[in-house]
């Protein structure tokens, strides 16, 4: 696939995503799309560190939760504007990333050891956020005060009571813009020296060092960027749901969600996490509507199916859906533009 076809595909996809909700007047479907894009951004955050850098984190909830808690607490406890708080939330997430990265990479932790240390940190933050009641309100979580004044909708970053357009589409376009920024950043990275060096470190760290790459510095850059994007998802979550509690913030569910989409979609590709998220959510909704209904609306059928899909993808599509698409494209064009 050459550059022009690729660019055309991207424009088509993004324009579709920008326009589609305008034709959907069902809140349920807009919500569905919002969550799809949310997971696509969450997945891209993980993908930068794991897909491009080969450092498989199993505790990305750590950065999501840090971003979410900082965003919530600065508003509730100190009366910060959400637009001001978010910069602290994002850099706070990146800072936690730098801390975990420094400890792990300084001592050369790789592979499963790195995965375990990130999981351990996420669990530690889960316990801390539950027990440090004077700061985090403990297990009951932090609730943002609801703004009911339409005039203040933008100032409070709460669109529930805003005008007709904002209340319906505000959060959709918020996550859409975050997606554009995160994906733009990833695309830029892929074409930069930093990206090339990060991939080199993933492929073979010793060879990378021999070629003049400061592997420690490159991995630190990747984890900060990755954590920053993931923390941005935390900011979005808090503004949308006006609530955060330890289990949602630091529990393993967000860590798994973050890695699921890029693995299915295609590791180390810009498109992978978005494709994976669309696929997962699409299949999830379909299963709930068909098999789930047939079984009397019992929850969890989609999860069983996800397990099966994950196994199949790992066994037959090591390069994910992106790899599958490229193979199909190659066959259609007879390999001419491959």
């Amino acid at each position: 696939m050459n550059e022009r076809t690729r660019l055309f595909g991207w424009i088509l996809l993004l324009v579709t995503l920008a326009v589609v909700p305008l034709f959907l007047h069902s809140a349920r479907w807009i919500d569905f799309l919002e969550m799809t894009l949310f997971v696509a951004v969450l997945g891209q955050g993980w993908n930068i560190l794991a897909g491009y850098g080969g450092q498989y984190s199993f505790g990305h909830a750590l950065f999501f939760g840090t971003g979410a808690y900082i965003q919530a607490l600065l508003q509730v406890k100190f009366g910060f504007s959400p637009w001001f708080a978010m910069w602290f939330a994002i850099s706070g997430g990146a800072l936690v990333g730098a801390f975990v990265g420094y400890l792990s990479f300084r001592y050369g932790l790789r592979g499963s050891y790195f995965a375990l240390i990130t999981l351990a940190f996420a669990e530690a933050f889960l316990v801390l956020s539950r027990s440090l009641k004077s700061i985090t309100e403990g297990g009951q979580g932090v609730q943002l005060s609801l703004n009911q004044d339409p005039e203040q909708a933008i100032a409070t970053f709460q669109f529930n009571f805003a005008g007709p357009f904002l209340s319906e589409y505000g959060f959709y376009y918020t996550i859409f813009i975050i997606l554009l920024l995160a994906y733009g950043l990833t695309a830029w990275m892929e074409r930069s020296r930093f990206g090339a060096q990060l991939v080199a470190v993933r492929e073979n760290e010793d060879a990378a060092k021999a070629l003049g790459i400061n592997a420690f510095k490159v991995k630190m850059g990747a984890i900060c960027l990755s954590a920053g994007i993931t923390a941005t998802c935390g900011v979005y979550y808090v503004q949308k749901f006006l609530f955060i509690e330890p289990g949602i913030a630091f529990g393993p569910a967000k860590s798994v969600e973050a890695l699921f989409a890029p693995i299915i979609g295609g590791l180390g590709t810009v498109l992978g996490p978005l494709l994976g998220s669309l696929f997962i959510h699409g299949v999830g909704e379909m299963t709930k509507a068909t098999i789930g209904q047939a079984l009397g609306g019992r929850p969890g059928v989609d999860l069983i199916l996800f397990g099966i899909i994950l196994i199949l993808v790992l066994a037959f599509l090591p390069r994910g859906l992106v790899g599958l698409l490229e193979a199909i494209w190659k066959r259609l064009t007879g390999g001419r533009n491959a």
Partner: protein, 248 residues
């Protein structure tokens, strides 16, 4: 250009390198030979910063680089290749070489363009878009060389670039290495293929059991009894002399 003074390394009770001294002067091809397990690769690893020496020093271009990290040493203009080739297998040949080029070049486009130029130097211009994982051993060896060259080194350490190649491939690679030297890059190489050592090097060091046992012009060194015995065992030099040989 490169000066190694009294360098030592032990692994547990094993003395890998003992008090080794050597110097490589600018514009030359210098080789390091010795039987398997002599400590040649260990010595290379210490020079390039992959292993810390127990004592002794490495001076490169009048700078003390002892114990500095490998990436820093590479940025100073001293680059190594690996005996066991280490390609970035999921990248193309061009992208592999560009990783080396990025050491001096920030721009992606310029690095990729430079990669194509370097590929030409080692005769890989026809394989630019091929995946590095699909290359033959000879191709991988060339790629290893190209990647190192792309960092624009002043001194190139080659660890057995000929190993695993057939006679034709060796024959093709010899002029490439000479060409690199002629372009102004000093070369220090480990080699087992004696044909290559003899025809390429201006000066040779011989390492045996971690000790430098001989040095000099290649033809003198390879006829020295001590060196023959290191390779063929005790008494071999005398037997060869009796057979009236001396052309070992």
């Amino acid at each position: 250009m490169l000066e190694v003074r009294g360098i030592n390394k032990t692994f547990g009770g094993l003395k890998a390198v003992t008090n080794a001294n050597l110097s490589v002067s600018e514009g030359k091809i210098v080789s390091l030979i010795g039987p398997n397990g002599a400590g040649k690769t260990t010595l290379f690893a210490m020079i390039s910063g992959f292993l810390k020496s127990d004592s002794g020093s490495v001076i490169f271009n009048r700078t003390d680089i002892t114990g500095k990290p490998p990436h820093w040493i590479c940025q100073q203009g001293l680059v190594r290749t690996f005996q066991v080739v280490q390609p970035f297998t999921s990248l193309t040949v061009r992208e592999n070489i560009a990783v080396g080029a990025h050491t001096r070049i920030a721009g992606r486009k310029q690095a990729l363009a430079h990669a194509a130029d370097v590929a030409k130097l080692v005769g890989m211009e026809g394989m630019l878009e091929q995946s590095a994982g699909d290359l033959t051993i000879a191709g991988r060896k060339r790629l290893e060389l190209a990647r190192a060259l792309a960092t624009e080194p002043k001194l190139l350490l080659l660890d057995e670039v000929m190993a695993g190649l057939n006679a034709t491939e060796i024959h093709e690679l010899l002029p490439v290495i000479r060409g690199i030297r002629d372009s102004g890059v000093t070369i220090f190489l480990i080699e087992h293929v004696m044909q290559a050592v003899m025809s390429l090097s201006d000066y040779t060091y011989v390492l045996n059991q971690g000790i430098m046992i001989a040095e000099g012009e290649p033809k003198d060194v390879t006829s020295s009894p001590e060196v023959i015995e290191a390779y063929l065992g005790h008494g071999a030099a005398a037997r060869i002399a009796k057979m009236g040989g001396g052309n070992a």
